[in-house]
Each structure stands twice: as C-alpha cells, then as structure tokens.
C-alpha cells in the first residue's frame, strides 16, 4: 500500500510536468493551470514530450505544482523546476483602484503603510498624459540586490523569482539601497504577529514577518503551487495584471489568457529602466487607448495628496 502511494506520487510529479508541456503545445496554455476545478478519481489524457498519449489520474486537490506547500529552508532557494514566472502589467487598464496594494498587504500580513506593490503616477514627457504605474519587484535576471547581500539572505531562483530569507537577513539594508526600483522595504516597526525562526515561515509566503529584516514582493509562488494567481493579479478589478510562465508562453489575469510573446510583440511591451541592464521579469504594456481619464485615480485621494503626486511626476 505504502509502495503504491509513493509510486502514484512520483507518477503525479511527472504528470504535472507533462501537463504543462502538453497544454503549451495545445495552445490552451495557463488557463488550465489556473482555472481548472478539481475533480475526484477522474482520468485525463495528456500528450507527453515524445508524442505518446498517456492517461493519468486527475489531482484531487487544487495542487498544480508538487509539493503544494510552500518550500522552506534550502528547498526555497532552488525554485520550482521548469518554471519561468513572468508578469505583464497593462498600463492602459490601471485606474489606481489600489486593490492590488490592499490584497497584497492583507496576504502578506503587512502594516497599512507597507507596500510591496506601489502605484505611482507617472508621465513620460511634458506633452504626454500622466498614467498610473503599478510597480512591484521586477525579479530581475541580473539583480543588483542579490549581488550586494553579504550573507546570501536574498537569492535568485531558477523560476525567475528573487526572494528574501528573513531568518538569515541581518538587516544591513544594502539591498534596499542597491535596488534601482525602490522595490524593497524594511520591517521598521515591530508587530505582535512577527516571529523569528518560526517553523511555519517560508520565504515564499514571508509570513510570519520579522522585525528588522527586509521584505519585498515575492510573486506569490505559494499561490502558484495551488493554482492561484498572485494577490495583486487576482484582485485587480480591471484585470490589468497578467501573471504566467514564460516557458508555457502564457499569461493570464484570471479572465483571459494570452500568449506572452505575442502580447509583448504586438502591444510593444517594455521593461522599466531597461538601460540599467538588470533584465526585469515584469513587462509593461504602454498606456495607449485608455478606457478612462487618469484623473479617475484621484477619487480616493485628498487634495493635498493629489498635489504631492502631481508635483513629483517624472518620466518613468
């Protein structure tokens, strides 16, 4: 019995990979990975890499990537095999609803003034119209923050994600100053829910947080494991944030699933401050053909706050 269980687990692991490859080949892409409801005992047919069709048991849980639980310790440094996570943000759709900020704060147990996802008001040049610019960590392929860490508390994984191990972080803040995108924050204030060396802590969830250590956007790999989009992408009312896998060539905002390469090619996607050579993994679609004026984003702000934003506007 025990043997059988272990066997099916192994089978499942390889099946998970095969599903990924097969869906990419079929063009159905990540829609399956993120939206499929679980069914019990059902068999599905998948195409393997060598072209044969095999039948595997459908997973019982929501688990999409094995193991479904957030990785800890050394495992958390490796990354999910075969994945290459990427985010695309459609600036034409953002109206500063701030749902991404709020849900991220809730999900990561942050204080109201701690923002791993920030929404900036930007302007390309004096003639152009301002636009809203949601900005998280870009999970660079050449991350300046990882280079400068003296203890290896922040690291780059094979699935593109850059994470922080708060159990190791000494709080020197060098990575905060090294990041050209101001993506990192320190847990300045102490909170009751904070705990050091907590057994449930994983760099993938960053919960519970730790006082005096660095925190940043983590791309929510723990949610990807159970087939969910990151907090920001799943909560955006406009569907402006697409998340997906470069290897599958698919990104989704939960409503529509698009081919990543085509999307970037056709909509002339760009990466912020490309000239710094950091190779970000977050792409932006230019704010053209917008559905509403940017002023609508001011609805939640006071006059004073509006003034601050308009005064600080600069080119992205």
């Amino acid at each position: 019995m025990k043997d059988k269980k272990g066997n099916s687990r192994r089978k499942f692991l390889s099946a998970g990979l095969k599903i990924g490859v097969a869906t990419a080949a079929g063009g159905l892409a990540a829609a399956n990975v993120f939206e499929e409801p679980p069914t019990k005992g059902e068999k599905i047919k998948v195409l393997t890499t060598d072209g044969t069709v095999i039948e595997v048991e459908k997973p019982v849980t929501d688990c999409k990537i094995n193991p479904c639980v957030p990785a800890k310790g050394v495992e958390a440094r490796k990354g999910i095999p075969g994945r290459s996570f990427v985010m695309v943000i459609d600036l034409a759709k953002c109206k500063n609803a701030r749902k991404c900020v709020e849900s991220c704060q809730k999900g990561h147990d942050l204080l109201p003034d701690q923002e791993l996802m920030k929404v900036y008001l930007m302007k390309d040049n004096p003639e152009s119209e301002p636009f809203w610019f949601p900005k998280n960590c870009f999970h660079c392929d050449n991350p300046p923050c990882v280079k400068v860490c003296p203890v290896g508390a922040t690291f780059k994984r094979t699935d593109n994600i850059v994470l922080v191990d708060a159990d190791r972080c000494i709080g020197c803040k060098f990575c905060i100053s090294a990041c050209p995108y101001s993506a990192r924050i320190l847990n300045w204030a102490d909170k009751e829910s904070y705990a050091s060396n907590d057994p449930s802590y994983s760099p993938e969830t960053q919960v519970p947080g730790q006082h005096g250590t660095v925190s940043k956007c983590d791309f929510c790999p723990d949610r990807a494991r159970v087939g969910k989009l990151p907090y920001c992408a799943s909560s955006c009312p406009m569907g402006a944030i697409y998340f997906g896998d470069k290897n599958e060539d698919a990104v989704t905002n939960g409503e529509e699933t698009l081919r990543f390469k085509e999307l970037i090619k056709e909509r002339v996607g760009y990466r912020y401050l490309e000239e710094l050579g950091t190779e970000p993994n977050v792409y932006y679609l230019p704010p053209v053909n917008r559905m509403f004026p940017y002023e609508r984003g001011f609805s939640k702000l006071s006059e004073e706050q509006k003034e601050i934003l308009l005064n600080s506007i600069s080119k992205p």
């Binding site: 900005k135 003296p150 060098f174 320190l186």
Partner: protein
C-alpha cells in the same frame, strides 16, 4: 648613549602628564563617560523600540550612522597612510607626530565600525557574516579590509611603543606610578634593552610595517568607497568614488592631526616639540589638499552637470536649491575647497590659531560633505518618491542618532586621554634618534653605487 640620556631627560621633563592622574583628569574622564552613557541609553532604546525611532526609513536607509562610519574610518586610514609615508621617507620634522597619527588610526578603527553595527536591523545576527559569507558583496570586502587593517595597525602601533615602554620601565622608579603600571611596562617592553642588535631588528620591523600599512589603508578605504561606487545610484555610481574617498580621508586626517597637535601643545606645554613650523607645514599641506579636493569635486560634478541626465538633474537641483541642501552645500564646499587657501594660503590671516581654526572648520565641512554625498543621493531614487509621509521622503536624524554620534566622538577623545596618560604622546626615543642613524636597510639596499664618486 647620548640619545639615551636625552630621552631620560625629556621623559622626566614631561613626567607630570603620565604620572598618577589628578582630580582634573578624572573629571574629564567622568564627563566623557557620561556622554558615552547617554549614547548607550539611546542604543538600548533603539534595540528595544526598533529602528523606527531613528530618522532612517525605506528611502534613506542609511543616515548619520553611515556618515560617521565613512568619516571616522577615513580618519583612520589617513592616519596610517600619513604615518607610513612620513616614516619611510624619513621626514625628520614629522617624527614627533608619529604617535598621534598611529593613535588616530587605531582608535578610529575601533570606533568607526561600531556605526555600521548600529545600522543593522538585526545586529544579533552579525555572526551570519562569518557563517554565510558572500565574497561578491562589498560589505564582505569591507569586513576583510577592516579586520586586516586593524590587525596591522595595532601591531604597528605596538612596535612604535616598544622603545618608549623600555624607557618607562627603566625610569619607573623616578616616576610616581601605580605598581601595576610598572609591571605592565616591564611586560610590554618585551625585554628591549636598546642593544644594537635589538634596535636594528625593531627598526627593520617598523619599516616593514610602514610599507605594509600604506597599500593596506589605500585598499581598505577604496573597498569602503565601493560600498557606494558599486551601487547603481546616480551620484554614487562613478569611477571617481574610490580616489575621491582616499583624498578626502588624507585631507580630514591632516586637519585632525593639526587639532590634536594643538591641544597637546597647549595642555602639555610641548611648544618645543610641536613647533610653529609643524603647524605651517601641515597648514600648507591642508591648502594643497583643499585645492585637490575642489578639483576632484569639480570634475565629478561638471561631468554630471554638462549633460544632465534626468535623475542626476534632480540630484544636482537639491544641492543648489536653498530650500533643500543649498545652504549646507554652499557653506561646506566653501569650507573645504576655498577656506584653507584664503586663511592659510594668503599671508595676512596666517597664524597658529587661524590654522587650527581652519582645521576645525575643514573637519566639520568634510563631515557635512560626506552627509551630502550620502543622504541626498538616497533621497533621489530613479522613481519619484510618491509617499504621503513626510518622514519617509526627507531624512532628518533624531536625538538617538545624534547622541550616539556624540558618544562615538567622546569615546575617541577618552581613548586619547587614557593613552596619553599611559605613555607620552610624543615618541620620545624615536624623536631623539640621530639623523641617518636608522637607515632603510631593507628597501634602500642597492647593489651598486647610485652616484659616481
């Protein structure tokens, strides 16, 4: 032998300053200890309450602490560099300065790194630097450099003390000392008896240490400069950073040397040792260094200003805007780049007191320049700072940071007070060596004659 007699005389002449301390001495120590305790109280508060009670926030992650760190370590490397160069070049008039220079080196090397610990969010995890070291990180470079430098400098300082410890041991009966000090001198002198063999060995060791210390201090301070230079930030990311840091260090070192020299000249009546000429020579060095400083600064910023990149533009605006850093910048740049030329360079204002005053102002100006090199740059990220919390956008240090700064300076002064009570502040034995007696055997040994005779 004559030198020996003279040394004994000089030591006994100045014996009051190393004999049992009087009330005044204890009062000074007490005041400094109180200042240090206030700093320690601030430190305890910071550890308990967290960094939120300092002025540091997510944009300006390093504030006054790192300014102090950079500034004080600069003094240290300057002390080592100047002492080494003076020693190897056999600059006769500079011999009395050697001890002050080496004490500056070691004491600032002890005080400086404390400030980087104050910056850490989790100081209790410092051991992680040794458990999981990453050689890619400039902080690891710094760690190695500072530890190496500390070892070399302490050894060098000790070597230069040996002759005087022997002198103190030999004269301990004619001095009013506590018994333990006599024993300690005997131990520390390592049985040095001033025999030709011992003198030769010790002098060779000193030459080797001086030669080691010069490159070590330049490398160590360059590595510290790259803490900033390796950063992608506009204002730091420049090839100038390391040479500029080394120059500023030597500049601040000379200024501090003049101040300490003046204090000991006044308090210990050392007019014959620290002569007017010492102040003049070092004053002229200050003028030359100030001009170099101005030149370096100008070439750094003219290149940024001539073709204004957007972020650089925002940064330079802050230096020139009088509602932001305009006042700090214009006063500081006047003090460090122009004042020495006017006060010391021109004959009309030149006097011992004016040279000392200029040194004090230069030192303060250099501190402000370090502040302006660090804080405004951190306040100018690529992205606009769209934060509605004022303290998150503009850094201003709190009393915690200031009291710890004062505590650091007090500790530095306290070290000096204790050290100059323990042994003379002038290297008596070294000073009285005859000119040419201590030849540079190791480095100057030449196979053939240099000049035909």
């Amino acid at each position: 032998m004559k030198a020996q007699v003279k040394a004994n005389e000089l030591l006994l002449e100045n014996k009051a300053f190393i004999e049992k301390p009087n009330k005044q001495w204890f009062i000074r120590v007490f005041v400094l200890a109180v200042l240090i305790c206030i700093g320690l109280y601030a430190l305890v508060l910071q550890v308990i309450e967290g960094h939120l009670i300092t002025g540091m926030r997510d944009n300006v992650v390093w504030g006054v602490y790192i300014v102090n760190f950079v500034f004080i370590l600069g003094l240290s490397y300057a002390g080592a560099l100047i002492a080494g160069v003076f020693h190897l070049a056999r600059v006769e008039w500079a011999k009395p300065l050697q001890r002050i220079l080496k004490l500056i080196t070691v004491f600032s090397l002890i005080v400086g790194p404390i400030y980087i610990l104050l910056c850490l969010g989790r100081p209790e995890r410092l051991f992680n630097l040794f458990l999981y070291p990453r050689i890619q990180s400039p902080i690891t470079w710094d760690l190695i450099a500072i530890l190496t430098d500390l070892i070399f400098c302490v050894v060098y300082l000790y070597f230069t003390y040996i002759k005087d410890f022997a002198l103190l041991r030999d004269n301990s009966n004619s001095l009013n000392l506590y018994g333990w000090r006599k024993k300690l001198y005997k131990f520390l002198a390592l049985g040095y008896q001033n025999t030709p063999e011992q003198t030769k060995l010790l002098n060779q060791a000193l030459d080797i240490m001086a030669a080691i210390i010069i490159p070590t201090s330049i490398i160590a301070y360059s590595l510290l400069a790259w803490l900033f230079g390796m950063n992608l930030k506009v204002g730091w990311h420049s090839a100038m950073t390391a040479p500029f840091f080394v120059l500023s260090a030597v500049y601040s070192g000379i200024a501090l040397l003049i101040i300490i020299m003046w204090i000991y000249r006044k308090t210990q009546k050392l007019e014959k040792v620290f002569t007017d000429n010492h102040f003049l020579y070092l004053g002229f060095a200050l003028v030359i260094l100030s001009l170099f400083y101005g030149y370096f600064y100008f070439s750094q910023y003219i290149t940024d200003w001539y073709n204004l990149q957007e972020t650089a533009n925002r940064l330079l605006d802050k230096y020139l805007d009088f509602s932001q850093y305009g006042f700090h910048f214009s006063i500081a740049i006047f003090l460090v780049a122009f004042l020495p030329s006017i006060i010391i360079g021109l004959p009309w204002f030149r006097s011992i007191n004016s040279i000392v005053l200029t040194s004090v102002l230069v030192l303060a100006g250099l501190w402000v320049m370090r502040y302006l090199m660090i804080v405004p740059v951190l306040e100018t990220p690529y992205l606009p700072m769209q934060d509605f919390r004022e303290s998150w956008v503009h850094y201003s240090a709190t009393w915690i940071e200031w009291s710890l700064t004062i505590a650091g300076i007090s500790a530095f002064i306290l070290f000096f007070i204790v050290a100059s009570k323990f042994a003379p502040i002038i290297p008596i034995s070294e000073m009285l060596e005859k000119k040419g007696e201590n030849k540079l055997v190791i480095f100057y040994k030449t196979r053939r004659k240099l000049s035909k005779k």
